[in-house]
């Protein structure tokens, strides 16, 4: 099983949209290496090779409800926790590059 480097942790944090400072990387990267090392033993369970995977404890598939209108949140309720609201909409920072 591969070891995890500081650079890999930086990359993964980037994928997960978390800014990590250098100090945080110093702190977290070695801990993650230890955790990964301990879960790596799972590869040794050879009996598992031809076993079907379980994604869920219950054998449930395709639970549907009737396609009818049901009460939901009002616009005011839906926006009640928003950091910023403008004209009954979520107001967000720019989503495009500055040159756009």
């Amino acid at each position: 099983m591969p070891d995890i480097s500081r650079e890999e942790v930086r990359h993964l944090a980037d994928l997960a949209r978390i800014d990590l400072s250098d100090a945080e990387l110093d702190h977290l990267a070695p801990q993650l290496a230890v955790i990964l090392d301990s879960v790596a033993s799972i590869a040794d369970v050879v009996d598992a090779q031809d076993v079907p995977p379980t994604s869920h404890a219950l054998p449930l598939v395709n639970v549907f409800r009737d396609d009818v209108v049901r009460p939901g949140l009002t616009a005011e309720e839906a926006l009640s926790g928003a950091p910023e609201v403008d004209q009954q909409r979520f107001s967000v920072p720019r989503i495009l590059g500055e040159e756009a």
Partner: protein, 511 residues
Amino acid sequence: MSGLTRRTASELADALAAGETTSVEITQAHLDRIDEVDGPVHAFLQVDTEGALEAARDADRRRAEGSPASPLDGIPIAVKDVLATKGLVTTCGSRILEGWVPPYDATVVERLRKAGLPILGKTNMDEFAMGSSTEHSAYGPTHNPWDLDRIPGGSGGGSAAAVAAFEAPVAIGTDTGGSIRQPGAVTGTVGVKPTYGGVSRYGLVALANSLDQAGPVTRTVLDAALLHEVIGGHDPRDSTSIDQPLPPLVQAAREGASGDLTGVRIGVVKELTGEGYQAGVQARFDEAVDVMVKAGADVVEVSCPTFVHALATYYLILPAEASSNLAKFDAMRYGLRVWPEGPEWSERAPSAEDVMRATRDRGFGDEVKRRIILGTYALSSGYYDAYYGQAQKVRTLVSRDFAAAFEQADVLVSPTAPTTAFKIGEKVDDPLAMYLNDLATIPANLSGVPGISVPSGLAEEDGLPTGVQVLAPAMADDRVYRVGAALETLLVDRWGGPLLDRAPQLKGVSA
């Protein structure tokens, strides 16, 4: 009326039915108790004095009219801060949700309100339920009422401590890898993880969808059964909810209370005892097994060989699901929004993604970051098959082990947690040592089977509570109540009173 806080929910319900007291008196007594002891215990993140008393007045009105809403109408309750409560701040123990007021109730909360249980407040927890000590709460740790320098277990340490400190007669917890049962064991209280799908997850802020389950946190097995019947049963708003009636749980608890276990086949799981378990924990467990044998149970040793891989399986599946679930905390629609700071931002305005990165760095604690990164790793291309895919296969093997074991035994037993409560700070920066606390509880979550933790006594070496776990097949929750209640009766008789009678008096508390 301080005597009211020492009584069980079932005793309080009887007193209400007999007209000996009122819900307002009971609720006020618990609010007073919270006032008195929650400073040092810190079980609560929010206390809703007004809301609780208003609900209590409504309960008294229904009682006066002769139409109580449920057997627990008027019994106050504490709710873990991971369940959405309309109009009452819900933080999940995280800075990223500081001050968030949900616009809706979780189904569990809706059922509590409908059944007339006044909600005293929201209880402390490890951030997003990630932890086994409640030290990973962004709002400071909860302290174990048995020894305030020690952890109350986690992630539901707040609910367990509230019940152990007599701040609430009953509480709601959630259990993803042991977060109801392990705090129960280390605080000398009762905790039940129902069958997966037995209690609705609607409005439960998801840690790992395929593992999470809400359940009762109480001081007696009967109280847990009464509460379970209030919150359980099918909910069309949760697509993983089981569309079948609950088995008769209260009846099972009452039957079990006779202490008779004649003909019950009890399986001791070989892989969940011995090495790695503290001597005093193991001794109390062995004693509990002897007591069950004397009460007529047939004990067999069963082997579940894949359980030795359950911890590794869990710490791949859980972070994978958690990293995906927590992606919704993006600083756009609710929760914290942090603008990045520094000289580079004088040149250009931060984008939504920049704000998201800064917010998630500030809003999440170390353990949440560790698990998100681990989950991102386990799901990334090149590693998916080796980690997440393999873990899903081993999960199947864990369920096969359970199926084989339940052919030999009606219930399985083990110590709930490998050790008694450890000191606050001892393992907070050693993730692996922390994860080992869930060694015995995790297999049940992977397979979806129900489990209860019942107090088994005090460990000789440190005088702290230990617990026994009873597991049953999926949908046979009645068995954990029957056997749990029997064990409780047998042990309490031996001790000459409930274990919690031996807990130290908390400071500032009049006898």
